[in-house]
Amino acid sequence: MTGTRAAGNTPVREAARRGALLQLVRPVARTVPWWALAAGGGLGLLAAALPRLSGGEVAPWAGVNALRAAALCFALGAAFLLDDPARQTTAAVPVRRVLRHALRCALVLPPAAAWWSAAVLLVPEEARPPVGDITLEAATALALALAGAAFAVRRRGAERPGQAVAAFLLVTAVLAPLLSPSEWALFTAPGDPRWADAHGHWTLLLGAALVAVAVCCVEPVRRRTLRTLRSPSRT
């Protein structure tokens, strides 16, 4: 081994890991598919601005749906966040996948927050839904997109899962309001008596999506198939 790699005890390893993470910021920032996020964000801002652009008084349902459309557009762009054409080339490196994915997410979070603030401000105040609740919906959409991408990476080692995940997310977003049972209504309007319950469900969904992201970002050290679960002993 060359002397460039930190070797030996755990503290040195920890320092190496931290050092690697800091030095990864710049190259990883260059590998983030900013074009997809920009396209999703741009379309989202357009969707959020539509009620204001249409003129006249804006109904609360129009405001909430504009922000939902905006959040969906951004989530579609975020589905490409884990696209990495060099995934196979970097499949067996010591810096863990979970750290690399976390770094990508961390890089995107500040611009995403700024973008969402702008989207919310584009909706006229009188039509603006409760900001905390609609932000919860947007965060869930983003988390679902990331969970889908992380699942595809873990399951198939997909280099570019973005397109398939975005398509799946779009279809789900269209079908969910039509197919979800009324007691599990997610897409309610402000003032609807089910609004609070619906956001309880959004919270559950967000929690589940974040757990899925966390689980899928970790590289498995052993395969869990029905066959191995039935016979777990490894020779």
Partner: protein, 286 residues
């Protein structure tokens, strides 16, 4: 000498397909060739040994480290270089930037030392002149060398190369063979290939894999010897041959069990390989 890699009973199944079936092998310093037809399980075995995918069953160690736990896997990864079958790149990176990126992922965190190492491996693969060029502007052969440089970064003790010469023209292939031969000096290299010439020229040992199982494990000379007395020349294609093809001289070269009085020929590694594959070889008839 204790082996660099020691694997026993490795098995892996994708759905109904058994990609690896109870594979055991030991690898020592030098270049070991891994031969086998398409779907033999070569890439799966390499991916398992590179810790890119875990096996369903079985165990292996690399320099004494067991990758069946997260910590052990990290230790193995700190000691290996992996060139996948179809390496991908960030095309807007220059060759230097990409290898530097992989070097950071290999925890080479001392920047000046890492940059020296990146320059060293790019020199080693003959890309010193184009290290500032974007990968999108490099030829296929040059990209393959960038991927090899990335695998070599950090001077790994165990190098896993999955069909590195596929798609290269003869001159590039010869250049790659030189690189692999150099890389095999002092470290353990596992080279998957379809090219028996690669194995004949580079490897001190060869493993033949078919149907997910090891069919042969020995020296190239031993594999060639399997075909001794089983290669013959004839005017027409011998229907009793396992495989046969017309040569440039107009005669047929047959492999299998020769008829009495056949005009026997000197066997090659490829003949031994075809006979080792047994039934699979019958599909190779021309």
């Amino acid at each position: 000498m204790s082996p660099t890699v020691s694997a026993s009973g490795l098995s892996l199944q994708y759905g109904a397909t058994r990609a690896l079936d109870n594979v055991s092998l030991r690898l020592s310093p030098g270049v070991t060739g891994l031969l086998g037809p398409n779907g033999a399980g070569k890439t799966t075995l390499l991916r398992v040994l590179a810790t890119a995918v875990p096996a369903d069953r079985g165990a292996f160690t690399v320099l004494g480290h067991d990758p069946s736990g997260a910590r052990g896997r990290q230790e193995v990864r700190r000691r290996l270089g992996y060139l996948p079958q179809t390496p991908g790149f960030h095309p807007d990176f220059t060759a230097f930037e990409f290898v530097d990126y992989v070097a950071i992922l290999k925890e080479l965190t001392d920047r000046p030392a890492r940059h020296r190492e990146v320059r060293r491996v790019l020199d080693e693969v003959g890309l010193a002149d184009v290290r500032g060029k974007r990968i999108r502007k490099l030829s296929g052969g040059m990209r393959q060398r960038v991927a090899l440089a990335a695998a070599l970064a950090g001077d790994p003790a165990f190098l896993v190369l999955d069909e590195p010469t596929v798609g290269l023209d003869p001159e590039q292939r010869m250049r790659f063979r030189e690189l692999i031969a150099t890389a095999g000096e002092g470290r353990t290299v596992l080279l998957s290939t379809h090219q028996t010439e690669d194995v004949a020229m580079l490897c001190h040992r060869v493993v033949v894999l078919a149907g997910g199982t090891v069919r042969f494990d020995g020296t190239p000379a031993e594999l060639t010897a399997r075909a001794a007395g089983r290669v013959w020349s004839s005017e027409g294609r011998d229907p009793g041959a396992l495989a046969g093809w017309r040569t440039g001289l107009g005669t047929f070269r047959n492999v299998g069990d020769p008829p009495p009085g056949a005009d026997l020929l000197e066997p090659t590694l490829e003949d031994g390989y075809l006979l080792t594959l047994d039934g699979a070889a019958a599909e190779v008839t021309a």
